[in-house]
């Protein structure tokens, strides 16, 4: 994680990957624009209890340069699919204890339906495609790399 933080911010798109705590208020401020009628923020947090088992922290690993590239490609694709005015995709790496945030997705649109749809698509697709991995650290001292989703790969080389 020597290459962190990575911060790519334009007028309309903000991609951020870092080990420091994420700043939801800064994302909210970035998304504000006179043209928007609504914005959605999804904040993914570390959950302490899962099926009676206690998590003391999650630890995130990433292929950082590709993760950022993929996050930016998803933000661009969301802006093609929906009338997005501004979009932010932030992810934290390293240790994240409950109830801190590991991911923040923010979308501003003229109307709420597109903002909800784009935000939902972004978090669902991020979880399936971006090369980031989480490791559960349980209260009993055991740990486990979470085997999540197998990314979709194109049939032909890029």
């Amino acid at each position: 994680m020597d290459d962190l933080p990575i911060n790519q911010k334009t007028e309309t798109t903000w991609i951020h990957l870092a080990t420091a705590p994420l700043d939801g208020a800064a994302v909210d401020a970035f998304l504000r624009t006179d043209a928007a009628g609504g914005l959605t923020l999804f904040v993914g947090t570390t959950r302490r209890w899962t099926d009676g088992r206690e998590t003391v922290r999650l630890a995130y690993d990433a292929y950082a340069p590709m993760a950022v590239k993929t996050m930016r490609a998803l933000a661009d694709e969301a802006a093609e699919r929906w009338p997005v005015l501004k979009v932010a995709v932030h992810h934290r790496l390293g240790e994240v204890p409950p109830p801190e945030a590991s991911v923040i997705i923010g979308v501003a649109c003229a109307h709420r339906a597109a903002a909800f749809a784009a935000c939902r698509w972004l978090i669902d697709t991020l979880k399936a495609q971006v090369p980031i991995w989480k490791r559960e650290h349980y209260a009993d001292g055991s740990t486990e790399w979470v085997q999540g989703q197998t990314p979709d790969v194109p049939d032909t080389p890029p």
């Binding site: 993914g44 995130y60 690993d61 990433a62 292929y63 340069p65 590709m66 993760a67 590239k69 992810h91 590991s102 991911v103 978090i123 991020l126 979880k127 399936a128 495609q129 971006v130 090369p131 980031i132 991995w133 989480k134 490791r135 790399w145 979470v146 085997q147 999540g148 989703q149 197998t150 990314p151 979709d152 790969v153 194109p154 049939d155 032909t156 080389p157 890029p158």
Partner: protein, 81 residues
């Protein structure tokens, strides 16, 4: 050809390193690289069906031809968010 193979998450832990330098005879595909690594390493073999490849920071099919100097990441199922 010389390849730089990057490891993350469970494979980095099982193999005890974050990168391998691999030499293959040209021409070679991603499939050939996986065959080579699975023959040498039980963890790669165990996870093989779940591994996807990224070549120079983009997902690529196993049939993709590799080139000297490529950076190939072994991507086990992702779990960000």
């Amino acid at each position: 050809m010389q390849l730089r193979v990057l490891l993350f998450s469970v494979l980095r832990e099982k193999l005890g390193t974050d990168a391998l330098d691999v030499t293959l005879n040209a021409p070679a595909t991603g499939q050939d690289l996986l065959d080579h690594l699975a023959a040498k390493n039980a963890s790669v073999k165990a996870y093989r069906s779940a591994i996807r490849l990224a070549v120079n920071e983009s997902y690529a099919p196993a049939a993709a031809p590799l080139h000297d100097g490529d950076e190939v990441a072994l991507i086990t199922p992702v779990s960000g968010g």
